[in-house]
Amino acid sequence: MNPDCERLREWLEAGPDGGPPPALEAHATGCETCRRRLALDRALGDRLGAGAGLSPARREALVARIAPAPAAAPARRVRPVRWPLSALAVAAAAVLAALVFWPRPVAPTLPTDVFGDLLGPLAEVTPRAPEAAATEEDSSPLSMVLATFWGDLEGPMAIGVGALEAPRAAAGIESAPPQTSTEGNRQVKEE
């Protein structure tokens, strides 16, 4: 659950007067669930306010009738209600079941984030995919020999490095810069 959803729920349960704080109001405009909750709360408030409202005179009369009653009433022994044991067990089981099976609010976690987190150090230090080859060709014999052998491995190496890049791409982690990983390379997708 979004923290704002949680805060709105708490605010509604507290039942203060007036509207919710502006931040929660703004959140509710973009959150379908919270918008409906807020609308329901307001509708209930409106209905109760209209239907249960009493005039001052009527209120005073009612209070006058109710106030003496406790003093006048004789003390009475209240007979405890005896619930059958089986009913208690059923109730307890129901409460327990509700506790166990009632869907708990789950704080959302992006699976791609967790996937990236699990990659851990590998994502930090594995090399990034090679850039395009340098345009300037070195035609010295040693360079040509090295280039021949490097050329053999270039394709498979590119696939291997690409394979290391793939989980990073899936987890939304930018490639590590070539010489440092000290500044962090995770960038959220909205960037």
């Binding site: 979004n2 959302p108 992006l110 080859a133 590119a158 291997g160 394979a163």
Partner: protein
Amino acid sequence: MRTLRTLAAVLVLAVAATAAVAAPKVADLAPANAGALIETVDAAGLRQMLLDSRFWDALGQTEAVRQWRASPRYAEAQQRIDQFLANLEMTRDEAIQTYLGQRSAVVLLPSGDIKKPYGVILVETDAALAERLIKAAGGERVGERHGVAVWEVRKDNRVDRMAYAGGMLMICGAKANELEQVIDVAAGGAPSLTSRGAFSDVAESLPDGWRTRAFAAEAGPHKIPGAVAMYPKDHGRVHFEWCMAESEDLDINAPVLLTGPKALPASAVAAGATSLHLQAVWAKVQEKVSAMPDGAEKIRKADMFVRGWFPGYSMDAITAAFGPEAAGALVKGSDGSAPGLVGIARLTAGGQPVAKAFKNGLAAKAMILGALGQNDENAPKIGVREETYANTSLVIIEAPAAIEKALGPWAKDIGLTVAVTNEWLVVGTTPAGVKETLDAAAGTGASLAAALEKDGDAVPAKPVTRWGVLQPASGADIVLAWAERVAGKERVDQIKKVTNLAELMKLVKRIVWQRTDEANMVRGTADIQAID
């Protein structure tokens, strides 16, 4: 009895068919336009193998990992993992074993930006466990496609999407319609990667039994389909097989049975051998250059330049003298002296006189150059001497003052050395390296091939196009010293600091690879051996 047999056969077939249906190929779920597919069998087991390795310990000591572990991002990551595991009601190992203990994969789909493809994670699991993970992530069902439920998790303006189809839980960041593309294949009958010929040609032609296999639709500088598969072995060995859909010129790259590794010395820390078809190479050069505007003139100049090194011989004679293979090695120096580069070219039946002409011509040129500079104080002093070693004449050309001035006392042993045997033209940067090579080639000294075979790494017994070996653990210091001289000390120090390169190199005992060209395919293998 016959009925029972028939019934048993039907049952076996039914079970086999069920198994086949229950476990489709991962590539059957990847869209045909996928740029890459990386598949893993039992990633959890591979992870454990990595965690148990000395490589992992060394990785933990690197500057990059130490800084990462000390960073707030690491703490956030651990908190996020813990929260997720709490929701999942599993320990970390349980979760990894449960969800990554079977097949898993990452599919990369084109996004328009080649550097930022869309990625979809595929995890083989059952429907109940998939739902458990989705719920643990706080997923909410938002719709369906081809009857497959689509779930979303929203957090901090980001959205992940998930679905379960074809026995695979699909997870991706919602950037575009990448999840729909995979569902369309898994449940909607859209063409999959297996329908693409290139995938079958390269990825499925690799031997079975791999633990990780990567396919790329456009790999390497030539942007061609290729695949690499990994096969972990016992005792710190990892074997790789690779295949590229590349059509090379077989006249130039025709595989040969390489004997170079048997002629190179055991002190080599890095070596390579290649097929060498000089006549085909020269024909190809002529063909290419002659198409240029001033091609004929360029060919004439090249012809003269090459013949200048082989006095008295024509280009045809020169190209016919060498082959069909050549090899080279970086050999250790002794007593702190410079390591040596040694190159050898195999001589054909009539090649020895041509090679000797090269050796003698080289000596003559050096002597003339030395004589011309005698009266010039600034010119490098060149010395030419001849030495006999193991019944073979060596020409050694030295310019000690100039080389030591440039590279320091470390380079005191450097001297261009040339020798010709019955089978090889040997050229080296140090007399010591050439002498070791002569011993190995004659069978009187330890050869690289024998040293490798003793360690269980046989040199190719069948024709190949190229072969190479790197022995970082024994050559790390040498290679880094060379790297410092080539790339600069500051640059190498910077890389060492970040990756602890020297430490990691010392953990790799050996890398051996080979390449074999076929008509429309290039195949190769590589073996990496960790230190004992």
